[in-house]
Symmetry: C2
Subunit: 253 residues, 2 copies
C-alpha cells in the first residue's frame, strides 16, 4: 500500500465543511450535507473503484476556505501521484482543486504528523462592501487601530488555556494550546490576522479575530486580551466572526 | 441639477455586461438580460423616484469584472453623495458595490472626459486549476516565457491600427488606437497583463492577451507581434481569452 499525500485548495462557500460533525448532521436533517471530504472520496472512488478514507490535517468549518489543506490516504493503485492529481481535478467540482499529490512515507499522517497550522482571517476594511471578494472576506467599514490590535495580539503568544476563545458549546477537557506566531498586517484595504499554532480549538481563530476587532474599534480597552485570556470564559471574548473570512493557509510538517 | 460621479466595483460573472449590446439582445431571446447598468439604474430609481440614465466610461462585456468602473448621472436630489452611496449599496445585489460617490463638475462625462483606461488580464499559471479565484482568472497550466511576452508586448506601445485585435464581426471604420502602457508581470502564480489606452476596440484586451499567451507558450515565434499588427487581419492574432480573466482596473481623468 502506498501512502498518498494531497495538498488541496477549496472555496468552502458551498460546503458544510471538510467533514460534517455528528452533532451538526443530526441538528439539520439527518441527511448528509455536502462536504469537501465526501467530494474527494467520491472522486477517488470513481478513479480507484475502492472506498478510500481520507485523513485531513483537521476539519474546517462550513464556509471556511483552504489554500493548502493536507490530506492523505492509502492505496494499492499503481497510478503515479501526478496522474491521480490530474484525474481528481477532472472529476472534482470547480471549487475544489488538488494542487499537489505525492507519495509520502509509510508513517505520514496528515493530522498526527502536523507540526503546526496557519490560519488567516481576512477583513476588508474600507467604506464600501466587497463585490469581487465577497465570499472570502469579512467586511468591516469603520477605522481599526492596528497598532493596538498588534500589541494585544502578542499576549496570545505561547502556551495558554484558550478556554475564553473556545466555542461555548464545546466542553473539551483541555483548552491549553500553543500559539507560535500571530501577525496583524495591513495590505491596502485588507487586514490579515495570521495565527500559527500546533492545534486550534473549535472557533478559536474566529473568536480571536472577533476579539481583535473589538479591540481595534475601541470597544475593548488596552489590556483586554490579557483579562479575557485569564478569565477562561467565552463570555468575555469578542464575537465569532463569519466563516467566510477564514482560510487554512498552510500545514507545517 | 447636480452631476454625480460613481466609482463602482463589480463581479461580472452573473451579468450580460455593463449594458446589453443590441445585437446580443436580439440574438438571445429579445428579453433583457441582467446588466450592471440596469441594476444600478433600478436602485437609483428606488431611491430617487425618477428614471436616471447612467453614463459609464465604457461598456464591459459579459463576465468581465471591474475594480473601478466610473459612471455619472444628473439629479435634482439633495441627498449627499455619501448618502447616495450608502443607499445604493443597501439596494444593490451583493456582486455590485459603489466604492465612491462624489459631486463632479457640470461638464464631467464618464466617457468623454476619460483620458485613459487600464484593463488587467489575469492568468493563473500553475499546474492545478483554481478553486478560490476560479471566476476571476484564466487558467493556463503550461510554462510561459515571460521575457519574450514582455519584449513582444512592447511592440504594441504607441499609435497603431489594431484591426488585427478587433473582434472579427466588428466593422468599425477606424481601428487606430494608442496604447500608453503595457506590462506583463508575474506575482507568484499569477501573470498580469496590464494595458492602458485612451480607448479599446471590442475584444482588444482579450485578443492581445490571447496573442501574448501564444507567444509565451512558443506557438508564435519572436517577431510575431509586429507581423500580426501590420497584417491588420484578425485571423493572424491569437484567440480571444475568456472574459472572466479581464478586469477594468481604473479610469483616468
Amino acid at each position: 500500500m502506498r501512502n498518498i499525500k494531497l495538498t488541496i485548495e477549496y472555496d468552502g462557500t458551498r460546503y458544510a465543511g471538510w467533514q460534517v460533525q455528528n452533532s451538526h448532521k443530526s441538528q439539520v436533517t439527518g441527511h448528509n450535507l455536502k462536504t469537501i471530504q465526501h467530494e474527494i472520496e467520491t472522486a477517488l472512488y470513481k478513479m480507484l473503484h475502492k472506498k478510500i478514507y481520507l485523513h485531513a490535517s483537521g476539519r474546517t468549518d462550513a464556509g471556511v476556505h483552504a489554500r493548502a489543506q493536507v490530506a492523505n490516504f492509502r492505496t494499492g493503485s499503481r497510478l503515479t501521484p501526478d496522474k491521480l492529481r490530474i484525474g481528481l481535478n477532472a472529476l472534482l467540482p470547480e471549487d475544489i482543486s488538488v494542487l499537489e499529490a505525492e507519495e509520502a512515507q509509510e508513517a505520514f499522517h496528515s493530522r498526527f504528523s502536523a507540526k503546526s497550522k496557519v490560519y488567516r482571517y481576512t477583513i476588508l476594511n474600507r467604506s464600501a462592501k466587497p463585490a469581487i471578494l465577497r465570499q472570502a472576506v469579512y467586511f468591516y467599514p469603520y477605522p481599526l487601530n492596528l497598532k493596538l490590535m498588534r500589541k494585544e495580539a502578542r499576549v496570545l503568544l505561547g502556551r495558554h488555556d484558550f478556554k475564553s476563545f473556545q466555542a461555548a458549546d464545546k466542553r473539551k477537557r483541555g483548552a491549553v494550546r500553543r500559539i507560535k506566531r500571530v501577525e496583524v498586517k495591513r495590505d491596502k484595504e485588507f487586514i490579515h490576522i495570521d495565527l500559527e499554532a500546533e492545534g486550534f480549538l473549535y472557533n478559536m481563530a474566529r473568536n480571536i479575530a472577533g476579539t481583535l476587532v473589538e479591540i481595534g474599534r475601541g470597544r475593548f480597552p488596552e489590556g483586554s486580551m490579557k483579562t479575557i485570556l485569564l478569565a477562561k470564559n467565552r463570555k468575555f471574548a469578542g464575537p465569532t466572526l463569519p466563516a467566510k473570512g477564514l482560510c487554512l493557509l498552510k500545514v507545517m510538517y
